[in-house]
């Protein structure tokens, strides 16, 4: 499992076990620092890159593709140096941009064939791979229609197909679920899962929603303000961040009784970490299965009704508040590094 605390150097120049390695990667623009000494080691699999808008995700992708030079530090993709071997990286890597990139007046087939040839596939191979890839992403008869007539979900599939058509060893997917409805999101995430499990292609997928990546990724990297907040396997992550939202009724006999306060006291006493979520809701960090029992017993002891008890995921913002508040209490940059660079 990747471990960002371990020194990277021993494996740096060996067999490229890691698909992406960055070492103190820094990107400064005249007015903002988009990436700040980022050191990560991404293994084969589906890896999520999570961060709010402006956290430096798109900047990182541009550097990994060898399209923008890093100010400091190094990065290797598939064992290739981004500073000197950009062209070789781009031949082996697929990229799905966040923004629209599809001309509306050509069909998906024509477009993907063209992009396959732009990756160096000979004409016949380009056509065959296009037919295969479009089928794999779930586009059938409609692939002969102009892209302008497609739904958002279908367009996202075309974007994914053009990233996969040349059979890359790694795909970089920038916010692939953007603009999709919940059903479309699930389908896209399932597809991304299959890109690794069925196609054997490693995936780096960015999102600003931690929740959706937890389901899809083996490993999650969280960045904020260009800094690495956390890099750990999804299992660790879920354990540490899963929350239980608990809401209780007032005590029938004594409406003035501070139920929330009393409950909080009891749960904290039981060794749980509890935060208030406004009103009558308490957020309890789920340590183990016992957590549920503790909450149930505490509520029963107080003699109040349990309105709801539901698992809740941390939104990415909450992860930031926990960490960022400790490290940089005075600063939450208003600048958006991504906006300076997103018009690629």
């Amino acid at each position: 499992m990747p471990d960002t605390d371990a020194p990277l150097y021993p494996r740096r120049y060996g067999r490229p076990v890691s698909v992406i390695i960055t070492d103190n990667l820094t990107k400064r623009f005249p007015r903002v620092t988009a990436l700040d000494r980022l050191t990560v080691d991404v293994q084969p699999g589906v890896v999520g890159l999570v961060g709010a808008n402006g956290a430096g995700k798109s900047t990182l992708i541009k550097i990994l593709l060898g399209l923008a030079p890093a100010t400091e530090g190094t990065a290797r993709v598939l064992g290739l140096d981004v500073a000197t071997e950009g062209a070789a990286i781009r031949e082996r890597v697929g990229y799905m941009p966040e923004h629209d990139c599809l001309p509306p007046d050509v069909s998906a087939t024509e477009f993907v064939v063209h992009m396959a040839r732009m990756s160096g596939l000979p004409p016949t191979a380009a056509r065959e791979r296009t037919a295969d890839t479009l089928r794999h992403v779930g586009l059938y008869e409609e692939r002969y229609r102009p892209i302008g007539t497609y739904s958002t979900g279908m367009k996202q599939r075309v974007k994914l197909a053009q990233a996969l058509v040349h059979d890359p060893r790694l795909v970089l997917l920038d916010e692939p679920t953007n603009g999709l409805d919940p059903a479309g999101r699930d389908e896209m995430l399932e597809l991304i899962r299959r890109v690794h499990s069925d196609f054997g292609i490693s995936v780096l997928v960015t999102s600003h929603l931690l929740g959706e990546l937890e389901r899809t990724c083996d490993h999650v990297v969280v960045v904020d303000g260009g800094k690495l907040l956390r890099s750990s396997s999804t299992a660790d992550f879920t354990k540490a961040t899963a929350l239980l939202a608990v809401e209780v009724t007032d005590r029938q006999s004594d409406p003035a009784f501070d139920v929330v306060g009393a409950l909080r006291e009891r749960l904290t006493g039981g060794g749980l970490t509890v935060t208030a979520d406004g009103g009558r809701v308490l957020l309890v960090e789920i340590g183990s299965e016992d957590t549920y029992d503790l909450v149930r017993d505490a509520v029963a002891d107080l003699g109040v009704g349990l309105v709801r008890m539901e698992q809740r995921r941390h939104r990415i913002a909450e992860v930031f508040q926990d960490r960022a508040a400790d490290e940089r209490p005075d600063e939450r940059p208003d600048e958006r590094p991504e906006e300076a660079t997103s018009h690629v």
């Binding site: 629209d100 063209h114 732009m118 191979a125």
Partner: protein, 304 residues
């Protein structure tokens, strides 16, 4: 694929083959650049695009060729020993059609990629900004050269059919092709720079038309003003060579007059050079504008 699928040899079974990896050749940057060139060149004539996008470029190509056909037909019918028109002259007469073609198609080559943000996608592939510009510039130049060269070819074939002087026509067809190449080079340069500045096709079209046609119009006005002034001053009209300097601001005038001068063709109207030095200045200007345009394009795409 070969050793992992021995069962595929049995032809009577349909397999769900799942995902197949590609281990064939990857042809690299040069091939990708040529693919982009071909796509853009075909696109300039609406090939591989909708019927609607074929109408204008194909119509303009026909418009370029029909007068040439008529000229040839008349010359053959009248059994005149000579085409009524210099090859080079034909292009300067058809200047308007050439300008409309480049104005309508240069934005197709560049603005669409900007507007639909396909450019970053290209650069996530092995090709570089330089390759992109090379492909697009080459394709626009080739499209223009086809548009201007085909009618000249028709005239030349006509001259052969009518058994006109072979050597004279071959030579002057060659002069015509030089003019065609210079028109293609200069017009493509100007048009692509303007088209690369805007993702809006309409702005691109309007900008190019403005630059090409308005500059020619202003040049003509200046030419006639100077000429008139000289006449009033007692000079003869065709001696007033200073007026030819007006061509420096007109793309069509530049090509027309420098080709006329280089090959000592008969001047007509404003198509002269002020002096030998002027001729070299005109040629140098064409070269400088083209090189500068190419450099600007590369710089513009390097930033993306």
């Amino acid at each position: 694929m070969s050793d992992s699928m021995p069962a595929a040899a049995r032809a009577d079974v349909i397999h769900d083959i799942g995902y197949r990896h590609y281990d064939g050749p990857r042809l690299g940057r040069g091939y990708a650049t040529r693919s982009l060139y071909t796509l853009t060149l075909r696109g300039s004539f609406g090939l591989g695009r909708s019927i609607k996008s074929k109408i204008l470029p194909m119509g303009l190509l026909a418009l370029m060729c029909v007068p040439a056909l008529i000229i040839v037909a008349v010359a053959v019918y009248l059994k005149s020993g000579k085409l009524p028109l210099e090859y080079e002259r034909y292009l300067s007469i058809m200047d308007f059609v050439i300008a409309v073609f480049v104005a309508s198609q240069a934005p197709v080559a560049l603005s669409r990629d900007l507007r639909f943000m396909t450019v970053p996608l290209y650069f996530s592939r092995p090709i570089t900004a330089g390759d992109y510009v090379r492909a697009k510039f080459g394709a626009m130049f080739s499209a223009m050269f086809l548009l201007t060269g085909v009618p000249l070819l028709i005239m030349w074939i006509g001259s052969l059919l009518a058994s006109m002087s072979f050597s004279y026509n071959l030579e002057h067809f060659g002069f015509g092709l030089v003019a065609a190449a210079l028109y293609s080079l200069l017009y493509s340069s100007l048009a692509l720079v303007i088209a690369s500045a805007t993702p809006r096709r309409g702005f691109g079209v309007a900008g190019i038309i403005m630059v090409l046609l308005i500059s020619s119009a202003i040049a003509s006005i200046i030419y006639f003003v100077i000429n008139r002034h000289d006449i009033n001053a007692g000079f003869q009209v065709h001696e007033s060579t200073a007026a030819y300097w007006a061509n420096v601001i007109s793309p069509s005038g530049l090509v027309d007059s420098s080709v006329t001068w280089m090959f000592k063709l008969p001047t007509s109207g404003a198509s002269g050079v002020p002096s030998t030095l002027g001729g070299f200045v005109f040629l140098a200007e064409i070269a400088a504008v083209s090189v500068a345009a190419y450099g600007l394009l590369v710089r513009r795409y390097r930033k993306i």
